[in-house]
Point group: C2
Chain length 460, copies 2
């Protein structure tokens, strides 16, 4: 599918492949392009000094004062330069793209301007944490967590200051992972957000299970409190809401991320959902010589067939590879995502794939669903714990639409079976016939997924 | 598909549904039939006194002297009788079926003969452990493990006797699970078998990983020793091989199981692979009024399209349900299995789905495969361990044929993703595009399954 109708790409000779952004999508594209065509000139402009690190690992690293944030670096800049012969320019911020001239320009950390021309360009500018436009969010001690540098700042702040309490604004998975990380350092944690519902995308009873787990680990949750401002209060910071005031030594704003698409938009490139850069399945933007990949770009959702925007690491890596393949002449299209995600919070694993009820309705399906609570291991097997599952299907076609799961064990990997079923457009009935693994330490003879599917079948 | 060409079944009125065998397949058929048609007369003949127990849980129960073997009973006989109004006759051994008269006969424990007629019959006679036809296998202290009564005998033997060493003949998953169970009770364990290869169905390097795990837990493995006989040796038992003699206080024969199909064969019912009862996808035997399900019956393998015989619990339960549905007039066909299996041995999880190389070649595929060793968690995440994967695909079509996995964590449930892919006849390329869950505590950003698929793609 070529949503921009560039026509068939001629196999022209690409000499200069230029990439803006040296994170997951950018560096995986650079590496793969160099492996495929060693003679290709590959240049990466990265505005920070860090490339190729495990961003998702930061909360776990912050949890442990004895680990260095640099332990998260998978490959440092010099290795990309020396071993792979990639022209990696860190500390280089691209400020403009001129698609007509196939060139770009910007400024490096030492203040020098630069100009560069490309044959093919990849915009892999990622996403940025949303910082509310409210008074006090620029105060020292108010932090965000997205880049390695953000993680470094938080770790430094915790090392230098006597932090006894942190207020986190937001209750998404980064907020929850950070709550756990800070509790591991014996720091008190308050979480506050304007919306009244905890994990609104998760089935109500399952969200309550997660909420209890968070609260039983000494984290205070304040829902339905609109934040008005942050104020200095002696050595501390005060978060002011109409009917609530919270105080902490540090404030983490974790209210979500937004795609870094301004550079592309200014160059006349078409944006899509939630201001992300619109790409086709070959990762091409509305300009045939410019690709976009990773958190700055949109993606097809296989279940809805519509575009969506979900910033996740696997998708970024995969898209980076696909861009490299297309630049190198090995035409490839990515089918898209099914919306699989997992996070750990204290002793719970929380996972989802596909659509929840609201998303299914919004996409025009007529959904029906079941929620069950069962056990993680076989009858009578020691160490068994509760596991909750919700499964959603389309009433008319019987098609599987989505699964959610919460439990202490066997959740994170279990979600991958229905994820593959969604890729295969399976019905709930087909999925219910899956030959899933059984041994007493790992599941009941009917895996909880099958029990849920069997229950859902009765609703059709 | 109706391999026996009975033609379309008329929806006749079934009054008497009779089941031979009160284990997984039999009792799940009985329960489901009663739920669907409460007026149906459902009679179950079970030769032992035990029904509905977790047979696979026995090694774990035996591991713990403080647990009663009866803890494995999911539902006792009286509950089936009182709550479900199932005519459950334990201690009743069926000795003959007369398909022409639609009747059966046998003898109960008290020596009385019985005769019974049926409209529809389910043969769910299960499988029996193979006992080698060699001298000494009938000595006291030589045990097998299949029925709850076998488990009871082993537990009683261990309680009454001062068992310091057990010799297990065989090295399949029951042998290995029992080795672990006995080591947990601080009993020395020797495993001996005639064939020279440890876990021959598993990729060689991966089998070596499992072997090292078993040996490092103090279990002695003796491969390539043909057993000649068992002898009494004072209070102990002596296992005599041409170049080896082992001594133990107990001997467990765990050399495999064989389907209990003699009763069906004598009634003129067609047998299939490995002497199991041949059934079509509706679980009908060569006699249109007689079904077979569970360990006594064969099954379609979705990957090969051929019949196979794999005695596993999920398949038995599922087949029992399908028989009930067909008896009750809700015609259903089961697609079959993909050969998924998992077991735990000490700290390792071992799993497989689909075909291994030998099976793929035998089935007429032209297979190619990769084996990789990677890590169970994200780069730099604490608690990560090694994980080994093998993936097999068909060279010409690129179709996924099978996956094997060994590791300390994330193996048992991870195998279900490729299992679903096999149900969907996916190619390795399609599977490699799966949107699998990622968070640092659970996997690298590219799940080991995806890394393996990406490597295998290079072989096509």
């Amino acid at each position: 599918m070529d949503i921009f109708e560039h026509g068939l790409a001629e196999r022209e000779q690409v000499m200069d492949f230029v990439i803006i952004g040296g994170d997951a999508a950018g560096m995986s594209a650079a590496s793969r392009a160099k492996r495929t065509l060693p003679d290709l000139n590959v240049t990466v402009f990265e505005k920070t000094m860090d490339v190729s690190y495990s961003a998702c690992g930061m909360p776990y690293n912050i949890a442990d004062p004895n680990r260095r944030i640099e332990d998260l670096v998978v490959r440092d800049a010099s290795a990309f330069r020396a071993k792979q012969n990639i022209n990696l320019l860190t500390g280089h911020c691209v400020e403009r793209i001129d698609p007509a001239a196939k060139s770009l320009g910007g400024r490096s950390r030492d203040g020098k301007g630069f100009e560069f021309s490309y044959d093919k360009l990849l915009v892999a500018t990622g996403a940025s944490p949303v910082v509310p436009d409210l008074p006090g969010f620029d105060l020292p001690g108010v932090v965000v967590l997205k880049s390695l540098d953000d993680g470094r700042k938080i770790k430094d702040f915790l090392r230098i200051n006597a932090v006894r309490r942190v207020v986190i604004i937001g209750m998404g998975y980064i907020a929850l992972e950070m709550a756990e990380a800070l509790r591991a350092r014996d720091i008190d944690v308050d979480l506050v957000k304007p919306r009244p519902v905890f994990l609104p995308w998760l089935e109500e009873q399952m969200a309550l299970v997660v909420r209890k787990e968070v609260e039983s680990n000494g984290v205070n949750l304040f829902l339905g409190h609109k934040i008005e401002r942050i104020e200095k209060s002696g050595d501390r910071l005060k978060i002011v809401c109409p009917n609530l005031t919270l105080e902490g030594d540090m404030v983490l704003a974790a209210v979500g991320v937004t795609p870094n698409s301004k550079l592309a938009r200014r160059a006349g490139i078409k944006l899509g959902i939630k201001n992300s850069i619109a790409v086709d399945k070959a990762l091409r933007t509305s300009n045939e010589n410019i690709f976009a990949a990773g958190d700055c770009a949109d993606v097809f959702h296989i279940v809805t067939g519509q575009k969506t925007w979900i910033p996740l690491g696997l998708r970024a890596n995969r898209a980076g590879w696909a861009v490299a393949d297309n630049v190198c002449g090995n035409e490839i299209e990515l089918p898209g995502i099914v919306g699989t995600a997992v996070f750990k919070v204290f002793d719970l694993e929380v996972a989802r794939t596909g659509l929840n009820r609201q998303e299914a309705e919004k996409a025009g399906f007529d959904p029906t669903e079941v929620m069950i609570k069962t056990r993680s291991r076989a009858h009578g097997h020691p160490g068994s714990s509760n596991i909750w599952l919700q499964m959603i299907g389309e009433r008319k076609s019987g098609r599987l639409l989505g699964v959610q799961m919460v439990g202490k064990e066997g959740v994170a990997h279990r979600i991958n079976a229905p994820a593959v079923a969604l890729h295969g457009h399976m019905t709930v009935e087909q999925f219910s016939q899956s030959d899933l693994a059984y041994a007493p330490p790992f599941s009941p003879v009917w895996d909880p997924l099958l029990t849920t599917a069997n229950q859902l079948l009765k609703r059709f």
